[in-house]
Symmetry: C2
Subunit: 326 residues, 2 copies
């Protein structure tokens, strides 16, 4: 963290399909001011950039002016760190390759970097959260999909093209694997995301006649939250769903450990807050499946970033890393 | 490569189960002098270290003296870069944790670093071979087992404990996978090593009645070289064995790409010299199985290091990386 007294703040911008949230953050990870706009409805991306930067500059002015800002970090789906572009993001209104970092830099006069949301979460965790001081860890984000951010030797892994760390799209079931949104079969994301949990629920409810609180909900409307609530009430089927989800995730993590032998794996996102329902089977499967020399070495941690702040904090952490010669 | 005029050479030492080969190497990767001893038969490891260092120092004296040597690099099974130790290597005569780098440093007065053989091969490839100038690549060694060395952001990946990069022990077949020497089932190594190829040959010959040149060889004696020779003669079963091996390897590589998005994957070792018999199905399976955003981006290369020199060259390359304050 290259903080200094003259530039004590960074800006974090989280671009989601629905909202764009931005905030000013200090070196301890406190969000000192925040605001948001809707991501859609601005027509061209130029108009969108104006719509973000206007209230952002107002916020900056109200907090000491842009001299106080070390950099702006943006977290966005399909964000490419090397080029500062968003590339073919299916859930954003703009098509093709969008040079968003340059557009924000132009409008604010502040150095701007951009990366994908899972990488931003990993940088946030390393700067302010459960991975403080760690040089080797893997962040797994369990949301609508499964994302990942990998840190090795204290550096984010971007790969030769800026897109490394798609662990949600490694194959966990090669035979009869579930169809993934990416067009392939058996991706980790189809089992261990929130939507994967709902899918497992529908499968188990169809294939068994076991009684369950979940049968009161129309099959297509079941969410991972419903499964969590039922499991907390002792529902056997719901517990079985978590068991299955955690086992597959643990099997996958055992293979990730063979790759980079991280000090810790940090789970983040809605599902990660399921407590022992998830972590118990994950730990067991990790331990049952990991290569002997790694056994018991890699910690399984839950993110320490508050959910509502995490995305902005993660993006903001990128702001500290911007080289001043940029 | 921190070569300079005063210290123009490094020493590479390759410790194998049978032989220990060592050589003096210049900055272009030319081995200017080499010698070897048997690894076993020295009793204690202290006696072994003496037995290597005596002829090694003679070699160094004959080539300008130790002032010319920047460092010594050692490649050894189960070598740990961080600690400079060999830890519980099943194929070496010494048990437990052996502080080999320190022992060589003491005897030679030259800074010494140590890593495992696959990592040494990767450093060699980056310094002298097919991966020159690359910052992100994965080396896969296809020998008796399957090893790997991973380079990210221009640095070897050692992980938090020094043992990262065990890609031969990621699981490629979760259901009914072959039993591995590590005690688990379905490891990549059980399919895509030289012994894995021989195993596939025995399986296919048993399960089919198809004619094959391989039927002339007693089943337990079939080697991957036999399969290669038969395939080159057009033997259908032998070609099918390569097809199967290459397909599984390509599937695995597609997942490795999702991890670190390397510029290239470099294949090394006996099997890697099978030419299109292996690379054609590997490339096809990589392409069929890789996530869309990575498609066509990662090159598949064959090592450019001569087999007889590769181990010593790889180990020697580590010698250039030793910090002078070590």
């Amino acid at each position: 963290m290259n903080t200094n007294m003259e530039k004590p703040y960074v800006v974090g911008i989280d671009i989601g399909g629905t909202n764009t949230v931005f905030g000013i953050v200090d070196a301890r990870g406190t969000i000192i001011a925040t605001d948001s706009i809707k991501t859609a409805g601005h027509g061209e991306v130029e108009a969108y950039a104006d719509a973000v930067c206007k209230p952002l500059m107002k916020l900056i002015q109200a907090n000491g002016g842009k001299e106080k800002i070390k950099g702006i970090g943006i977290g966005a789906p399909n964000g490419n760190y090397y080029s500062g572009t968003i590339e073919f993001a299916p859930n954003l209104p703009w098509k093709g390759i969008i040079p968003l970092a340059a557009m924000f830099e132009e409008r604010t006069g502040i150095p701007t970097a951009l990366t994908n949301d899972a990488n931003a979460a990993a940088i946030g965790e390393m700067t302010y959260g459960a991975a403080r001081g760690m040089k080797d860890f893997i962040m797994i984000t369990l949301g609508t999909g499964v994302g990942s951010g990998i840190v090795i030797n204290g550096q984010m892994v971007y790969g030769h093209d800026g897109f490394a760390g798609e662990l949600g799209h490694t194959i966990i079931r090669r035979e009869n694997g579930r169809l993934c949104g990416c067009g392939r079969h058996g991706c980790l994301e189809t089992y261990c995301s929130a939507t994967g949990v709902a899918r497992t629920a529908r499968e188990i409810l169809t294939s068994s006649t076991e009684e369950s609180l979940l049968r009161a909900i129309p099959s297509e409307e079941i969410t991972s939250k419903d499964v969590y609530d039922a499991a907390k009430k002792g529902d056997k089927v719901a517990k079985q769903i978590f068991e299955f989800t955690g086992t597959l995730l643990g099997e996958a993590l055992a293979d990730f450990i063979a790759f980079s032998s991280p000090e810790a794996i940090v789970l983040f996102g809605g599902l990660a807050k399921s407590g022992e329902l998830l972590t118990k089977p994950v730990k067991k499967a990790m331990d049952d499946n990991v290569l002997n020399i790694f056994k018991g070495k890699t910690k399984l941690l839950i993110s320490e970033l508050k959910d509502s702040d995490a995305a902005v904090l993660g993006a903001s952490a990128l702001g500290w890393e911007i080289k001043s010669d940029k």
